[in-house]
Amino acid sequence: MPTHDRADPNQSPPGPGLLARLDPVLLRRAAAALVRRPGEYGDLFLEEVRHAEISRHRGRSGPAVLGGWAGVAARRIEVGGDVRHCSTAGLDPETIGALPRRLRGDAAVGPARPTGSSSRTPPCEPRHLDGLALYLEEVEEGVVRALGGVNGIDLSLRAEVRSQRVAIATSEGEVSEELRDWSAFTVGLAMTGRRGDSPIEATWAGGARDSERLRALHPPAEVAARLAEALREADSAASPPSGETAVILGPGAGGILFHEACGHALEGDRALRDRSALAALLGEEVGPKELTLVDDPTLDGLPGSRRFDDEGWPAARTVLIDAGRVAGLLLDRATALRAGTAPTGSARRESYRDLPLPRMTNTFVTEGTRDPGEILAAVQRGVYVEELGAGRVDTATADLTFRVRRGSLVAGGRKVAPLQACAVSGNGLRALAGVRMIGADLRFDPGAGECGKEGQRARAAVGQPTILLEGLTVRPA
């Protein structure tokens, strides 16, 4: 790899970046000192995070929280694949300079308080809270207007900003820096339905790179109107069918299914340990020719977007399923070493305290050619999923279950009634083989999605056009 610095000219944050405060030569020297022999790889991961969150419930405040941390981790991947890793709070030059000795075990583990100049990190950013609070107030007012009051309605709102600045220096001489900001909100409504037997609920969530874009992409009045509409739909919902039936995943609605069932199954750490039924079919046909699934961190403005991964490898589009055939795995450096190939730029870590894992970023089914109306018209009896909720997939067996948050009953080629809470389940391999039609209307989720893996959370986007699937079972939840 060429040796150069990759600063971040397009996303200039307030205040100097890490590479402006820390000498890249020092970072390069420290990263080079992490390795002991040819064939080893080492990197430094430096991170500065500012966090703000605010919540409201039934008109009362939850806690408003401001926080921030700064820390650095050093790692060495040895020739046989063994890994040594250490992390510590702080970004002072002396802390960083001591990491190679600590990784070798020459320096004792123990808090290493800097003796020189203190960290210049301003750890908290109060202005973040002001924007969030205003946004939530406007959503709340909108909901009150849209519903004509909130008596008897349990309204909860939460929003957060996370501003993460990372710098990575590798033993190969690469030094990179990037600012990754994301703002997100969730609003929930619950009330006793007109049948009075059980509560009905509606939720809406969204995200964007900053609070200005959040407001532009998810205008408070629109969020409130959609929530009110979702709540009314829930109150007039019909019982779901029970049994195997045709399922239409509305655009963006079912991306989580492909994320969980295909994306996780094709992450290198699972796939290379025989824990993935889908990865075992690498190179084989699992779906129709129209079906292509990709992971692409290079797309602009999505929660998983980045210029390089958390090992400094350039971000790149990875085709996971190509024209129905299992085509690729998501690999970080450690799993690429095991696979004997190059990384795919898929390393992610929640913070400097965590080891990188191969993970998805923005994962989506590419557009097909069908008109969405044509797909709906093709279904005589089935379920149209407007929004898919939490789910569970066993990658070893490909068995899956997902909750349908919002959906409609389909009869005679049209939506006839909103659906009560239900779940779809089945086997992922069977579902892929059961893909019948793919629309030309790719859409991503609203941007509030988080993925969890081995205790680490990461922002991720999912997307898909309208898709007609057979082979899934629907049942009341």
Partner: protein, 448 residues
């Protein structure tokens, strides 16, 4: 650490805080992970990770009675004091206050009048004394206990950490303690195609209190493929279920929400006694004071056939895993209390020689709900002192209250596990269920 906290408290008071609280946490840890399944026939991939962390949090109540919270994770966090102070007051500006007419509690207690729970033993002086190489060797010894033909060891992980917590508030409370934590995780992949992977975990304050062999044995037990159940002589007959302590832990993990709900009617007739205990020696959830500074306590949640207590915000039940978290009311160490004396019929005891039909259960799945379901993942029928055959896959469905009423402690000793959270249980006996024959292998029928 306490000096730093004092300085920040003073600064908060000078800035106009009616109340303030400083929470400091410093920790260091080591984790060793072996992944034998990655390189078949070669030594496992080994990952060693050392970590250190320091952080400080400040809670304030400003002059208008509004509450604010801010935290910072840095070495020498007191150097960020000004920023932390400004952030906490900025946070308070967004507080709309509590519910009308409800007096909000103070941030914490005043000075202690006595030693409180300072005697609780939660710090192991030997913590982190073992080298990474020795820990890896310990894990390899554990791995040797698995039969490679039936199961592959996916991952073995052992971690240790030592943390020190200090808390000071403007009402005069001052406290600090150190706590060690050890955590073991065993992940197995059964050789049987399509079988689900199994993770078995243990946690304690002392590494020596973890039992890797027992952890592996339980994990292996759970990976065994389901056997076809014996139905001819047993179908439709009521029989007590005798749960091993491990199966009882699964039962407790499943019914935890019921124990916390305070719903008295669920427990009518039950002889179970369930407590949340932050005062036990050697347990990960124990501490001399809780996340807000109140003396920790044992809270009896269920007893005398009723829900007799709840975790409360009055003090003693606050948990605070990190300086980044606000203190919240939560479970610290849940356990079912053992029987006062041995019942004579217990999953760990020899089966009685009379004709009593019973079911020894070593793995169970319980899904509570309006219609609760129980599924025996591994069990055996016994009668006349002899094993009659497997009961794997048998099930029961019915009202949750029937299940809870039928459950009683059988063993006189509590064993500790980590089922998503640390918890403890003795072996249990459940009466009043009629496990039904299966309609097809692995599928249970609905019972009365």
């Amino acid at each position: 650490m306490m000096q730093e906290a004092e300085a920040l408290l003073e600064a908060a008071r000078a800035a106009g805080a009616l109340e303030a609280e400083v929470f400091v946490k410093i920790g260091r840890g080591r984790k060793v992970v072996l992944e034998p399944a990655v390189r078949s026939g070669s030594p496992p991939i080994e990952t060693v990770s050392d970590s250190e962390e320091e952080g400080m949090a400040l809670r304030v109540i400003d002059r208008a009675g509004r509450r604010g919270f801010a935290w910072v994770g840095l070495p020498a966090p007191e150097r960020a004091g000004d920023s932390l102070l400004g952030a906490a007051f900025a946070s308070a500006r967004h507080d709309r206050g509590g519910a009308p007419g409800v007096v909000r509690p103070p941030l914490g207690p005043g000075p202690r009048n006595g030693p409180g729970r300072s005697g609780v033993r939660i710090a192991d002086p030997e913590c982190m004394a073992l080298s990474a190489e020795r820990i890896a060797a310990l894990l390899l010894e554990t791995a040797a206990g698995a039969d490679g033909r039936a199961v592959a060891i996916d991952r073995l992980a052992l971690s240790e950490a030592m943390t020190t917590v200090a808390l000071a508030n403007s009402r005069g409370f001052r406290g600090s303690y150190s706590k060690s934590l050890a955590f073991l995780s065993v992940a197995l992949i059964p050789a049987e195609p399509g079988a689900a992977a199994v993770v078995e975990e243990r946690s304690a304050c002392r590494l020596a209190d973890l039992d890797p062999r027992d952890c592996l044995r339980e994990a292996l037990q759970r990976t065994k493929p389901a056997r076809r159940s014996v139905e001819e002589t047993t179908a439709g007959r009521a029989a007590p279920l005798l749960l091993t302590a491990r199966a009882s832990a699964s039962f407790l993990a499943a019914i935890t929400p019921c124990a916390l709900s305070g719903e008295a009617s669920l427990w009518k007739g039950s002889t179970l006694r369930i407590v949340d205990d932050q005062t036990m020696d050697g347990r990960p959830g124990s501490a001399p004071f809780d996340g807000a500074g109140y003396d920790t306590r044992r809270t009896v949640l269920v007893g005398d056939g009723s829900a007799v207590g709840r975790l409360s915000a009055d003090g003693g039940n606050f948990i605070r895993p990190s300086y980044r978290d606000l203190p919240v009311v939560g479970v610290a160490g849940l356990l079912i209390l053992p029987a006062d004396s041995h019942s004579g019929m217990d999953a760990g005891s020899p089966a009685p020689s009379d004709d009593t039909l019973m079911l020894q259960v070593s793995a169970i799945e319980v899904v509570p709900g309006p219609v609760c379901s129980v599924r025996i993942r591994r069990g055996d029928w016994w009668s006349g002192g002899k094993a009659l055959g497997p009961a794997d896959g048998l099930g029961w469905e019915g009202p949750l209250a029937v299940l809870l009423r039928g459950a009683s402690p059988a063993g006189t000793e509590v064993k500790f596990y980590h089922c998503g959270a640390p918890l403890g249980a003795p072996s249990l006996r459940i009466d009043g269920l009629t496990p039904l024959r299966v309609e097809a292998p692995g599928r249970s029928a609905v019972s009365v």
